[in-house]
């Protein structure tokens, strides 16, 4: 029997380390020049008649659970160093007020001159929207004393507004006499001409004589420095309010987060905190304009918004018969019966629901498919057998829960880094006339099919004319199912993820195919969890000491971040995540290839953030 109680789990640990620290209101040590975050009200009742109601709930001990402190001294150090860097960040957002005095508590008197912003930047990219500069390859660093270095760094921001800094420590080493931390640094602001951002990796050497005292900086070495300007302001702007003009129900439903609704709707309707609700874009009424379907948690109705030529929308949810209050995770607009309109397929707790479009945007349920072991989560469609109709792959995350586990936000992966106790995914073959047959087993798709699937997407990566399938799984390895069709046109799928080099052992959250390098074939971007705490802890020597080196590496790989796999054209892929600089997408969810600046190259967007809470209880 393994003694597993030696270590507390990683997240509990990161939580407990941080929750005592007064100053950690946010996960990232972010400072803003505009305003400090207001302190939330205290969590115990006060005799203040002005506060209408104060919480009187029970304080649970789990919130204050402590890890074994000695085992994770690195985390203690991280907390102190993070606080120092955050303090530095606060000073940097006021370039005019820089002085040696207010920096004194942060630097050691023997600070070794360092270079914080390289001179001789060269333009590596320029288009109508962005200018990107990096140090020239042959540029020699010019070290300066601390104050001078800092001045040089922030001078370009002298006229900037809304200045923001951020430090995020992702590894610490206490082994040497001088503790060393590696972190991401970023400073950005709005300039008269647009925006300006500088970012770099900071490798900081510290002086830390006593565990009770904050460490002080002894030297800083920067790498991967990059300066980005946008011309004429940010490229993207939020136009939601304009689009939903005249729909008073919209802000009532969507301007409240999951915490609001999950504390007002009974959990038995399947409303949880994770917020895994998708959306689908498609032209529902055949007017050439894309419309929008939004999936909602159990208890809130799904919404169908039909767009008008002026870009605003009307709410057609009730009229179209699609305003289900069922817990709905994902939707696809597909012409399933090839009659020229967009039918609607929904992944709900009751299974997959198939609805037919009457040609004018009215929908009727034509059938449903219950997947017994798991509630479906993600949908991806393709005509895998090339018979002229669309088939449907359904990703299922975890097994249906017992009543006792209901309402728990997390799955229960075993083992964590390579879990194979999730829901079984299903391929429904379209047999026409709204008949869909579970063909998972006969097609060979039941291999490695017990994973915690969060996303799947089809594309013909091997360019043999039929679509193949990539499946991104939480807590472990992913699948690449190659579609092998025989002479009769019968498909068999083989999981070639390992052979193709795209197993990507980590917490897969989303997958997007696209041509990243412009060579015409399909590359692959998989979003994962980039956890600074995970990076810090998984690389320390006392992490999972009983595990073999392979398992340790797999744990470490887990926290690395997103993966970009370039198609080599021979059935295998090359991992370009780190060289392309696209690994650090934080706790990533939706990701997409998209040509943002119309230069013909696929850029990448990553939506992230797991759970943000206003309460100052520390980040797990």
């Amino acid at each position: 029997m393994r003694a597993v109680d030696f270590f507390l789990i990683l997240f509990l640990l990161a939580a407990a380390v941080s929750c005592d620290s007064e100053d950690r209101a946010q996960a990232t040590n972010e400072s803003s020049a505009e305003s400090e975050k207001p302190k939330p009200p205290a969590a115990v009742p006060t005799r203040n008649a002005e506060i209408p109601f104060a919480p009187i709930g029970l304080v649970d001990q789990t919130l204050h659970r402590e890890p074994s402190r000695d085992a994770w001294q690195g985390e203690v150090f991280n907390d102190l160093a993070s606080a120092q860097l955050k303090a530095l960040g606060k000073i940097l957002v006021h370039p005019a007020k820089l002085s040696l005095e207010n920096l004194q508590k942060l630097i050691h008197r023997d600070f070794r001159p360092s270079e914080l912003r390289p001179g001789g930047l060269v333009v590596v990219h320029q288009d109508a929207a962005f200018v990107v500069k990096r140090p020239a390859a042959d540029q020699r660093p010019r070290a300066r004393p601390f104050l001078e270095g800092i001045r040089q760094l922030v001078t370009p921001f002298a006229e900037a507004r809304e200045l923001r800094t951020e430090f995020k420590i992702y590894s610490v080493a206490l082994d040497a006499g001088e503790p060393v931390s590696n972190s991401w640094f970023q400073i950005s602001g709005r300039t008269p001409g647009g925006t300006l951002t500088m970012r770099a990796k900071w490798r900081c050497h510290w002086n830390w004589p006593s565990p009770d005292e904050p460490p002080t900086l002894k030297a800083i070495a920067i790498s991967e420095f990059e300066q980005t300007e946008s011309l004429g302001g940010p490229l993207l702007s939020d136009v939601t309010k304009t689009v939903f003009r005249g729909l008073p129900e919209f802000p009532k439903q969507f301007n409240h987060g999951m915490d609001y609704w999950a504390s007002r709707l009974e959990s038995r309707y399947g409303i949880g905190l994770s917020g895994w609700h998708g959306l689908a874009v498609g032209d529902v009424n055949g007017d050439g304009l894309d419309d929008l379907y939004v999936c909602e948690p159990g208890g809130l109705p799904n919404r169908l918004y039909i767009s008008r030529p002026d870009g605003t929308v009307i709410d057609a949810s009730a009229l179209s018969g699609t305003d289900f209050r069922l817990q709905t995770q994902c939707a696809l607009f597909l012409d399933l019966d090839n009659d020229g309109d967009q039918d609607l397929t929904l992944a709900t707790t009751l299974g997959v629901i198939f609805m037919e479009n009457d040609g004018r945007g009215g929908f009727v349920v034509k059938g449903s498919k219950l997947i017994p072991e798991a509630a479906p989560l993600g949908l991806a469609a393709a005509d895998f057998d090339l018979d002229g109709d669309l088939d449907l792959y359904v990703g299922c995350y975890s097994l249906r829960r017992s009543n006792e586990e209901e309402g728990q936000i997390l799955g229960r992966p075993i083992p964590y880094h390579d879990a194979n106790n999730g829901g079984r995914n299903v391929l429904f073959r379209n047999d026409r006339s709204w008949r869909f047959t579970d063909a998972t087993r006969e097609l060979g798709l039941d291999q490695n099919n017990r994973r915690f699937t969060l996303a799947a997407s089809w594309d013909d990566y091997d360019d043999d004319g039929d679509p193949d399938l990539y499946v991104a799984n939480d807590y472990g390895r992913n699948n690449l199912y190659r579609n092998d069709r025989d002479g009769n046109g019968d498909s068999k799928f083989v999981d070639v993820a390992k052979k193709a080099g795209v197993e990507d052992i980590s917490a897969g959250m989303s997958v997007t195919w696209g041509d990243a390098d412009g060579d015409g074939d399909r590359d692959l971007y998989v979003s994962n969890m980039w956890s600074s705490a995970g990076n810090r802890v998984a690389y320390q020597r006392n992490f999972q000491t009983e595990a073999g080196e392979t398992a340790r590496e797999e744990f470490q790989r887990h926290a690395r971040g997103n993966s970009l796999f370039l198609n080599k054209g021979d059935g295998t892929f090359a991992d370009a995540s780190l060289t392309a600089g696209v690994a650090m997408g934080r706790w990533a969810w939706g990701s997409l290839f998209a040509d943002l600046n119309n230069d013909g190259r696929n850029d990448l967007l990553v939506a992230n953030g797991f759970i943000t809470q206003p309460d100052d209880t520390g980040d797990l």
């Binding site: 996960a27 439903q253 917020g275």
Partner: protein, 686 residues
């Protein structure tokens, strides 16, 4: 996970690990951040570095304005305002939960673009899987049309090409690889256009002018603890002990409500809204009493978090002064804990109870409505009417937005799961869940219980029957009959499997009982006829079906079954006569023509056999069905083969096989392939 088990482990090994998962879930449920306050990332593809290697992407998260601090989830591409650049829809976990981010690129920039939507003709109509290669000014880009990518998202089916800065008048060329349906190349496409391309037709530009969407997001909703929650599933209220202001020990017992609803209110004398609310209850006591409401107002001032000695002085003063006309008292920590736990069990996001909080309990002692914060009198009065209202009224009141579905119209039972397992080919799973349905706890409605058990046993019987487990099927159908003895159709099903299992006497008895149960019942006679066909007793089948036909002479289904029975009973001429008679009244029926054609083509009796007429009928039937039914095509092939036209027969079979395969009829496809082999052999024979 620092203490995750490393591979397959025993339950003892993992219990600690699982406890930690639960603890972590609980912490999140109570409002802890977990990788929160993260900003979205955006990486700019700056093209190849030295050589042809993909270079480093630039981090334009802040520069693009995409770096929102949302708990982002789904993300979809679309050119929503049709101005030639990509906009993005996003969903979030927190508020606002939906955003459209508009791309301002083409506002000023000199950048070209082209978009195209596809319509398949010989491939799937959406053309999902199409590969598009656009070449302009010597540069080629490849994009693919997909349905479902990223996380829970479907992007627009309109494919967008960014073309950078181009000389005026430059035209491009598009090559489309239609999925499984060939390649098409379209020349002379002009940048700056939204095209629509139908497979095999010239492209059509769409000329609608883009709207100008003004930037503007919704202000964040002010956080509030105030809530009224109407429960759709009421839960038992705990017994609460408290002390009244005379110092006597009292008890609220939900099993002894005296048939009255109760409002349990939590207050404190230092809480201004609490006091105002109590005075409101007091002022309108008569109207509340008229609704039979009992009010129990408990102060929490005896509970202290920090171990300090409670001071009830202010509470006592208030009670003495206000002379509330309802019960008031003091709760202890245990009472508060019971109510807190009751409250927290209902929601996946636990909120601490604010003051005041009230619980409206119905006359059965079941919690019906929760008020966090003060409740207005009018609201309370109208909610009292909800307590005894019909479920549909409660549903309407419980949900914040109307919806055309009613959640409890979609209950999931064990049999639904059993059917789903059967669909997926997991018969063990199907059996397991059917047995769970059978073993379900009895309700207070024995009639319904019996019907549900009969249904579950029937499902199980059909399941066994489908795999030819006749004995097990007979046992299950027998049980079904026991639970629904007045259903003769069940007895017929029982009889059929009894026969197959070899219990012929019992089978006859079951059939006879069924037949006796209802005289002159068409459905019953039809079922008996079909059952006898199934057990290969066509003689009896003919008798039952003739009786059925006598009751419904025009019923086509019975007639076709009867014709089949005649055929099986060795009387093909009677079958032919039946078909011909029906053909007179239904001259366009492809079914009748098909059955007759097959009989005429294959009958061994020379007096009946007529391959030429069979061919004519089968040709008509296929023409009517647009040659899209593999069964009809098979009959045509048979007639063709019998008239000696083997190569035509092979062509028909080939089409039938393709159709069978496309529509998932794999067994039929297999049979047809075998037949194709036979014909090919015959064709090659001298």
């Amino acid at each position: 996970m620092a203490q995750s088990p490393l591979d397959a482990v025993s339950p003892i090994d993992i219990s600690g690990y699982l406890q930690n998962w639960s603890a972590l879930s609980a912490m999140i449920g109570r409002g802890r951040s977990f990788s929160g306050f993260e900003r979205h990332c955006c990486f700019l593809n700056t093209g190849p570095s030295s050589g042809n290697e993909l270079g480093r992407f630039a981090d334009i998260s802040a520069a693009s304005g995409f770096d929102l601090i949302d708990d982002g989830r789904a993300l979809a591409r679309v050119d929503w305002d049709r101005d030639g650049d990509l906009d993005f829809w996003l969903t979030n976990r927190g508020a606002p939960r939906l955003r459209l981010l508009k791309n301002n690129l083409t506002r000023s920039a000199n950048s070209s673009w082209l978009t195209i939507s596809l319509q398949g003709r010989t491939c799937n109509r959406d053309a999902i899987g199409a590969v598009l290669e656009f070449t302009i000014a010597g540069r080629k880009q490849t994009r693919v049309l997909r349905a479902g990518e990223g996380f829970q998202s479907q992007s627009s089916k309109r494919i967008h090409f960014g073309l950078g800065a181009l000389p005026r008048g430059e035209k491009g060329q598009l090559t489309v690889h239609w999925p499984g349906s060939g390649i098409e190349t379209i020349r002379d496409l002009l940048p700056g256009n939204h095209y629509h391309l139908k497979q095999g037709s010239p492209p059509r530009p769409d000329a609608s002018s883009p709207p100008d969407l003004v930037a503007g997001s919704f202000p964040a909703s002010a956080p509030t603890e105030q809530a009224r929650v109407v429960l759709t599933q009421r839960v038992p209220t705990p017994v609460l002990g408290y002390v009244d202001f005379s110092g006597a020990l009292q008890k609220y017992d939900p099993s002894d409500t005296g048939g009255r609803p109760t409002l349990i209110n939590l207050w404190a004398s230092w809480c201004t809204p609490c006091v105002a609310e109590l005075e409101d209850f007091s002022d309108h006591h008569a109207s509340l009493k008229a609704k039979n409401l009992r009010t129990l107002a408990l102060t929490i001032e005896a509970v202290s978090d920090d171990g300090s000695k409670p001071d009830l002085g202010d509470a006592k003063k208030l009670v003495r002064k206000s002379k509330f006309p309802f019960q008031v008292g003091v709760t202890d920590a245990n009472g508060l804990r019971l109510l807190t736990v009751l409250h927290s069990k209902i929601f996946s996001r636990e909120r601490p109870l604010p003051l005041p909080t009230s619980f409206l309990v119905d006359k059965h002692g079941q919690l019906a409505v929760i008020y966090r914060g003060p409740v207005k009198l009018a609201q309370l009065l109208s909610d009292l009417d909800l307590l005894e209202a019909a479920p549909v009224v409660v549903f309407k009141a419980a949900f914040p937005f109307p919806s055309s579905d009613d959640l409890d119209l979609f209950p999931l039972g064990e049999l639904d799961f059993a059917r789903a397992y059967q669909d997926g080919g997991d018969l063990e799973g199907a059996r397991r869940h059917a047995h769970r349905a059978i073993a379900a706890e009895p309700t207070n409605n024995p009639v319904l219980d019996d019907a549900n058990r009969a249904r579950a046993w029937y499902f199980l019987g059909s399941l066994e029957q489908s795999t030819r487990q006749w004995v097990a099927a007979a046992e299950a159908f027998g049980k079904s009959v026991e639970h629904a003895p007045t259903q003769p159709l069940l007895k017929v099903a029982h009889g059929a499997v009894l026969w197959q299992s070899g219990a012929r006497e019992a089978a006859r008895k079951a059939f006879a009982e069924a037949a006796r149960a209802k005289a002159n019942d068409i459905n019953l006679l039809n079922a008996l006829g079909k059952a006898h066909l199934q057990i290969e007793q066509p003689g009896e089948a003919v008798i039952y079906l003739q009786q059925a036909q006598a009751l419904a002479p025009e019923n086509l289904t019975i007639a076709l079954t009867l014709a089949l029975a005649h055929e099986k009973a060795g009387n093909p001429s009677a079958a032919v006569a039946e078909y011909r008679r029906r053909l007179q009244s239904h001259p366009d029926s492809a079914n009748i023509k098909n059955n007759l054609a097959y009989l005429l083509a294959t009958c061994s009796d020379p007096a009946v056999r007529d391959p030429e007429e069979a061919l004519a009928l089968a040709t008509q039937a296929n023409a009517a069905a647009n040659s899209s039914n593999p069964g009809l095509l098979d009959t045509l092939a048979t007639a063709q083969a019998e008239t000696g036209a083997l190569s035509e027969a092979l062509t028909s079979l080939q089409r039938a096989i393709k159709l069978a395969q496309e529509t998932g009829k794999t067994r039929l496809a297999q049979e047809l392939r075998k037949k194709r082999g036979d014909y090919a052999t015959r064709q090659n024979a001298p």
